[in-house]
């Protein structure tokens, strides 16, 4: 049961907050937001057409705030399980600095404003996609999947994979095959990224009662699944070349990055059950962040070089 069902005021029914602005910024999950901003920006740059720079910046800001709003709604609902996990216990709601009601109001208001702003400043296709992303993350993932199935982050990963599609739609007003390729890369990247974390944080997830794959199916199955997803991810990394919107130079970079991902996943697969330090899992988690950042940066560089006529 979520903390929202147990919330109660103090005896007087009154509460004077000591929450600082930084607590509300923390509700937006700034680190996740930075990844959303980056991938949405890549989606915008890859899209055909040149948007007004000012409208592009406002669109990126709206997408960032929308992603932050879904983070606030997640923290509102998940305060009970955040409180028992070391990684999340100091978040503003479980720490008591912000009430669940404040987090809910904050998330809902920002959701409405971000979607409306994107609709008015870019187009309503992008706004509808942003609204769907917020709904998918807050309702489908947070309220439903996260506590009910070990496939939670596989299906829920769609929310994190949508920002480049939203960015692309902000420029073109449509969803295209190219933007779906970017979606697919992040979608396939999410399970091995989170399962690597879940391997060395399985105690946390067990205490919170979240059915992550290592807790439900065991470490051996999780390692195999990570390796399978690594193979799929490495293949999807070169899809932009196959789909014709990136050069062979990008394909070479993507292939090298993909081999690296497979190698790190292989190390996790070979990790003995008795290994409690789980260095290979921690290394894969770190590499997965680097992988996505470098791959999308390479796409940006490729587009820049193509515009200068240096690659085809």
């Amino acid at each position: 049961m979520a903390l929202v069902d147990q919330e109660h005021m103090d005896d007087t029914g009154l509460r004077l907050s000591e929450a600082a602005p930084g607590d509300f910024i923390a509700l937006l999950k700034p680190r996740v937001m930075s990844l959303v901003v980056f991938t949405a920006f890549v989606g915008m740059v890859m899209a055909p057409g040149v948007p007004n720079p000012l409208l592009a910046i406002i669109s990126i800001a709206a997408i960032a705030v929308g992603a932050g709003a879904s983070g606030a709604l997640n923290m509102w609902y998940d305060a009970d399980i955040d409180a028992v996990m070391g990684r999340t216990a100091r978040r503003p709601v479980p720490a008591g600095r912000v009430t669940p009601g404040e987090a809910l109001g904050f998330g809902l208001v920002l959701s409405a404003f971000s979607v409306a702003t994107l609709g008015l400043m870019a187009n309503w296709t992008a706004a509808a996609l942003l609204a769907f992303t917020i709904f998918f993350y807050a309702v489908i993932y947070t309220m439903w999947l996260k506590r009910s199935t070990p496939q939670n982050i596989v299906i829920g990963g769609a929310a994190g994979a949508l920002p480049p599609v939203v960015g692309w739609a902000a420029v073109t007003g449509t969803v295209s095959m190219e933007s779906l390729v970017l979606f697919l890369i992040i979608f396939l990247w999410t399970p091995p990224h989170f399962w690597a974390l879940a391997l060395f944080k399985s105690g946390d997830y067990e205490r919170a009662g979240i059915p992550m794959l290592p807790n439900v199916a065991g470490h051996a199955t999780t390692k195999k699944q990570i390796f399978i997803y690594a193979l799929l991810l490495a293949a999807s990394g070169i899809l932009p070349v196959v789909a014709g919107f990136a050069s062979f130079a990008f394909g070479a970079v993507a292939a090298i990055l993909g081999v690296g991902f497979i190698w790190y996943s292989w190390q996790v697969l070979r990790m003995p059950e008795s290994d409690t330090s789980m260095k290979p899992a921690k290394a894969l988690f770190g590499y997965s962040l680097l992988y996505l950042f470098v791959l999308f940066t390479a796409l940006l560089a490729d587009r820049l070089l193509a515009s200068l006529g240096l690659v085809s």
Binding site: L14, S17, A19, A20, P21, N52, L54, I58
Partner: protein, 51 residues
């Protein structure tokens, strides 16, 4: 309990002041973004349209 008797502490007052300033800045930024965004979206002809 009478609400008038509730005295905020120094820390609560300070936190409220900081939140008010942050909210004012956020609103000002939003107003500016909507203003310049509207100009960029609709162009300078925005001011020449019939009411």
């Amino acid at each position: 309990m009478d609400k008038d008797l509730l005295k905020p502490t120094e820390a609560q007052l300070k936190a409220r002041r900081k939140r008010n300033i942050a909210l004012a800045i956020a609103l000002a930024v939003f107003v500016v973004l909507v203003y310049v965004g509207s100009l960029a979206k609709l162009g300078p002809g925005l001011f020449e349209r019939a009411m």
